[in-house]
Amino acid sequence: MIGIFWYYLSCTVRNRTAHQLRRLSNPRYAVALLIGVGYFWLVIGRGLVRGDPDVSSQARADIGLMAQMVFTLFFAASIAKWWLFGGSRLALAFTPAEVQFLFPAPVARSQLILFKLLRSQFVALFSAGLLALWMSAGRGLAFPMRMISLWILFSTLGLHQLGATLVHESVTSAGGGRLAWRRNGLPIAIVVAAIAGVAWTLFGAREELRAAVQNQSLIHTLDAVLHRPIPRAALFPIHILFAPLRAGGVGEWFMATLPALALMIAHYPWVLWSDVAFEDAALDATAKRVARLAALRRRGAVQPVTGKKVSRAAFRLSPTGRPEVAIVWKNLTAFSRTLRTQTFVLLIVLLALVYVVATFAAGSADKARMVIGAVSLAWGGLLAVAGPMWIRNDLRQDLPQLEILRVWPLRGASIVAAELTASTIVLTVMQFAALLVGFLMFRGVPSETFTPAVRGWLAVFAVIFLPVLNAMAMTIHNGAALLFPAWVKLGSERPGGIEATGQGILTTVATSLTLAVMLIPPLLVGTAGAWVGSLALGRGGAALAVGAAAAAVVTGVEVGFLLRQLGVVFERTDPSAAGIGAGG
């Protein structure tokens, strides 16, 4: 059976690659590829990021240590989530064609899982290669060793997620009976014990951590605490996976890779065994199994919650008025219906956790408030970069239905503008909320630099500039989808899983660079505006607001220009030639 799977996957990869290469006959794709290759050659090939000479080796080591700690805790949290709440259902997702051909075929379910594992390796290898290329720009291990280390890391975590999801689904399927809970109970108990162990150790070390905050040695102290027996045992598997990436030489890397590889290999039979156990427990007919898995596959994509009462629309849509408003209404309604209570609960729990940890570490509620304020401000900043990738209720969602969009009695530019308005509104509201929390948390905190007046003007700056900045970012992301539909995930399907990191990196780099280039004129004009403002109004926040207004106007003009151009592209795009929507 592996031979058949291999045939299908290798043909798919070969034909897909050939198809992508054929696309390069289109000048648009060829130019984009040249720019991309040029960028990677400049940045990585020429070593433009081989380390800032001004950054000391100590500072670099600190950054490395902090990054490793952050990723260790992130992966630990992810694993805990997979066991406690179930993994991403993308881990179980099959394509419609795979369901149609493989599920009714005489293929055992364990073989389907094997197929799934085999397929994920292609994505994991691509991501590992790209990330290794990126990391090789710094110092340390050579590219092949980094790539192998990252591949083991991604594969193992992907396998673990799949295994945890299978077990979790088997519990759900078995209705949470005693047998099911016996199977799921042990891992849950281990996860809960690990969380409790780490939390207890951190609680016990609160004085040390508090002192470390005062001495600005938090990273090293936290690292030391996390290497104490209980946290070390709890995080042991993740440490094993990270060890090859920390190796200083070939010998050390080899010795560290062996246990990591063993851990990865051990996952294979475990995942397959979970599946067999599931089959034993379920004792279901083949038809039922197919239906259930088909349902799982459907849920792989982001879907609205069905079977429950549908939530109200974003606002009441009047039957008359500008038709563009209907598109904004549709997209805002779509966004509101993808929100889940779980997200809000998680956010509140996280904020509470930050507050508790900060109170212990800082020793006072005031400082804890500042920590929460800083986290909120950082979150607002992160949203400016990552938000346009997360919030996609715009053309990226609707392009598969381009045929229908093209029939609407509207100009192309109007449709494009209306489509990305909802995303811009959502992103801006989220940013304002984060900034407001930050603003309130820092209220009353004395600072020579950030006086109340300066803070007020900074808020004015944000209110003026953020909406147009977000509109620009959304225009770039939607423009990328329209110009390069073959390179952008469209529809409700999201590139998912740890192994799909590579695509995320490419998207981030490409769109961030475009945004940076587009922001040069507003920056220049904004600076000039602030200078003129300072001459007229004196140095201070008022001049900043003038600069922000000038920058906002230029950004707005740029957005308008881009929308006009994208409107033309929209009107000229042939859905079937671009590979969008239904063919025929």
Partner: protein, 248 residues
Amino acid sequence: MIIVSSLTKYYGDLAAVRDLSFKVSPGEVLGLVGPNGAGKTTTLRCLSGIIPPTSGSITITGFDLAKQPREAKGALSFIPDEPQLFEYLTVEEHLRFVGRLYGVPDVEERIVPLLSELELVEKRGALSTELSRGMKQKLAIACGLLHRPKVLLLDEPLTGLDPIGIRRMKQTILSRAREGTAVILSSHLLHLVEELCSQLLVIQGGRLVALGKIAEIVADRPHLSGQGLEDIFLALTGSGNGPDSPRS
């Protein structure tokens, strides 16, 4: 009224539609038939403004589709064979959405009769993802009919419908035609075409093979006299190897 003049569409070097001219008057139902790859879908896509033709002109109720696209599109409706719906909107919200797009002030008054006509009243609050294939098709049809278009373009409209739905759909098409709508119906179901269409347009290889009432087409080809539409179709498209085999 639809007036198509010398419509030609190339995909690279491939001519999907070549020099196609015809017109459909208000109240007429034109059946667009042809074998797979004949250019039916491309023709409908050009007529609905989804893709621009390489050359030629299309006039919808007096508006040139290339020069006055908003006015032309406002008067037409295209219902594709595969219903394309928004997964986060309910049945009723789809109609409100379309109502605003096309500026229908009395949308609320039109929703219930339309949903009744298509037997969707009970599903008015359901998300499109909760509908069966046939119901999705009905919703797509309801969306297409809401603004009472003067031109209706239908691509395999009966796909996925049950027998009752098929009967209702036939009645719907005929009633719209009686109200003065110009209808173009593309389908492989020749009995449907025979039953509903007042005119027939047969294309193959992107070229017009025959145009007119079935009786007129047969009158021009006496050897087809007395044959059913299926045989006529086979003869016209060359599958029957008769004297009417089209030459490329």
